[in-house]
């Protein structure tokens, strides 16, 4: 939201907005927009997954690494999910299996 602000006068505001968003996330541990737990990979997940469905469909689930891989493959085979490069896919699956595993640490 602050990328378009270019004047030095507004940089302070932009920074404040960025900091407050970051502070909100740090405080709760959850991304204020998607509700995803903030950890390496959460932005990739938001980018690839929330084009079709909201992140709430993700945050309700609890699956193993294999389970998440199969879900992604099913979405690619049947549900119109686009191809994802290997490196991104590995990060996405690691993030999901760690934070949205069968023990559902972040299930609300």
């Amino acid at each position: 939201m602050f990328l378009s602000l270019k004047k030095t006068g507004t940089t302070g505001i932009a920074l404040a907005v960025a900091l407050s968003a970051a502070a909100a996330a740090a405080q709760s541990g959850y991304d204020p927009v998607t509700g995803l737990f903030v950890a390496p990979g959460h932005r990739l997940v938001a980018a690839h997954c929330t084009a079709c469905h909201s992140a709430r469909l993700i945050t309700q689930q609890g699956a193993t690494e294999q389970g998440w891989r199969e879900m992604i493959e099913w979405m690619q085979d049947e549900q119109g999910l686009w191809p994802i490069d290997e490196a991104s896919l590995a990060q996405i699956i690691a993030y999901l299996a760690t934070h949205y595993g069968p023990d559902r640490p972040h299930w609300k």
């Binding site: 405080q27 709760s28 541990g29 959850y30 079709c52 469905h53 909201s54 709430r56 469909l57 309700q60 689930q61 609890g62 699956a63 389970g67 879900m71 049947e78 549900q79 119109g80 999910l81 069968p102 023990d103 559902r104 640490p105 972040h106 299930w107 609300k108």
Partner: protein, 444 residues
């Protein structure tokens, strides 16, 4: 650093890991090692009543170990869907919209539209795009002799109109309780409704269009769009065997409780095949085919709305050929009054109310326990308004002394099958959880 409901999740996590250890850690509780019930030490009992805020736990000796008190286990997070004519529903997902009804909002004998759960697989057609006068329903398929298209006004004019109270429950209602977790929206108890639907009989319309000898199954098609936005994809297209389609209560409906159907529930036209998974009752319906084979549309195959033919261990991989399509839903009940956690005055009877249903079957009895399942007494059960309507039950509960109680309800169907007290057999997508419902009551 605190997340809303984080503490409560912590409770569930601890119980999921090792329930008896959780009892010990949280409440200092040790149960009788043989009966797995009760409290061996007063300390544990003090702990559990302290957390509940109750003065005593009168049936403490019966309380099974490792069971989270219902007053702590149930939580609802009401969300405002008012813009869509909904009220008080808990939103599980906003794209696609899926929302369930807290038990106490299902207290009406006939569910008002505003409290009717929403289970959408795709994106409904925009309200602006729906012209009720121009909406058409096409009947066709391999086993249809004379394919035809009807406007809603033509359906009303050409066929007799019927109204029935019909119970619709999502196949995945209760999914949240399965362990390991089952994929999909994590419904708890609120994906069920029973309302008065008005329309024409599916049988009358199909017969009018000619059902060939080789007819096997119906297939509905709706105007909802696939989540990916790909117009060549359908989010869902299911149906029922011809015998179910030909039942008197199977409707093509345009009205519920005397009003237009809520947009999220299928306005302006939908199928209602009550007693079967809600997904067989297609919404925003534009076409119904009579097929010469079991329908193979999206969500008819794989693990969708199908369960293992034979019981499997939790977490098992089940090959597609060992999965069967869900037909009639199992016996179930829901306590709609009081709301869990209610405070109640000692020496006055507490009126318990709820509903019971059993797919295609009637419910024969409902029993209620107020002592953690040690003893059960029969509730007053009304006959259904018509076949496939849920049945209302009432029970007057009395409590011997002050403290924390739970009310448990258990229904038995016309074939003598009763609800299980615990989560039934695990299946890959977490369908058919018909375990008993519990509510907590504080008596003082």
């Amino acid at each position: 650093m605190k997340h809303p409901q984080r503490e409560e999740r912590g409770l569930h996590e601890l119980y999921a890991e090792d329930s008896e250890r959780a009892d010990a850690q949280l409440f200092g509780r040790r149960a009788n090692p043989v009966s797995r019930r009760g409290f061996l030490k007063q300390a544990g009992l003090t702990g559990i009543t302290g957390i509940l805020g109750a003065s005593a736990l009168p049936w403490a000796g019966n309380f099974p170990s490792g069971l989270i008190p219902a007053a702590l286990a149930d939580s609802t997070e009401p969300f405002n869907l008012k813009a869509y004519g909904k009220q008080g529903l808990t939103v599980l997902n906003d794209r696609p919209i899926n929302a369930e009804t807290p038990p106490h909002l299902l207290d009406d004998e006939r569910t008002p539209s505003r409290y009717m759960f929403v289970r959408n697989n795709g994106i409904p057609p925009t309200l602006e795009s729906i012209n009720v006068d121009e909406w058409t329903l096409e009947i066709g398929g391999e086993s249809c002799a004379n394919p035809q298209t009807f406007r809603i006004a033509e359906l009303r004019r050409q066929f007799k109109t019927y109204s029935y109270d019909l119970q619709i429950e999502c196949g995945g209602n209760g999914r949240a309780a399965y362990d390991p977790p089952a994929k999909g929206n994590q419904w708890t108890t609120g994906a069920v409704s029973c309302a008065r639907w008005t329309g024409v009989r599916l049988a009358d319309v199909l017969q009018h269009c000619g059902i060939k000898q080789d007819a096997v199954y119906t297939a509905y098609y709706g105007a909802d769009a696939h989540l990916s936005g790909d117009p060549s994809k359908q989010p869902i297209s299911r149906g029922v065997p011809m015998a179910k389609a030909m039942e008197e209560e199977s409707l093509i409906a345009w009205s519920v409780n005397g009003e237009a159907i809520n947009w999220l529930n299928g306005y302006p036209l939908r199928v209602v095949t009550a007693g079967w998974p809600g997904s067989t009752s297609g919404k925003w319906v534009t076409r119904i085919d009579i097929r010469n084979q079991v329908h193979d549309g999206p969500k008819m195959t794989g693990s969708s709305y199908r369960v293992p033919r034979n019981p499997v261990a939790p977490g098992a991989k089940v090959p597609n050929e060992d999965m069967v399509i869900i037909g009639s839903m199992p016996v179930k009940s829901l306590i709609t009054r009081p709301q869990t956690g209610v405070e109640h005055a000692l020496n006055t009877p507490l009126e318990i109310r709820g509903h019971a249903w059993a797919g295609d079957l009637p419910v024969s009895t409902v029993h209620v326990s107020t002592d953690f399942g040690a003893t059960w007494r029969e509730a007053r059960l009304k006959a259904p308004v018509n076949r496939l309507a849920w049945q209302n039950f009432t029970f007057s509960a009395r409590f011997p002394k002050s403290g924390y109680y739970e009310v448990w309800a258990r229904a038995t169907d016309g074939n003598g099958r009763a609800q299980p007290m615990v989560v039934p057999g695990w299946n890959p997508k977490g369908y058919l959880n018909n375990r008993c419902h519990r509510v907590g009551v504080f008596v003082s």
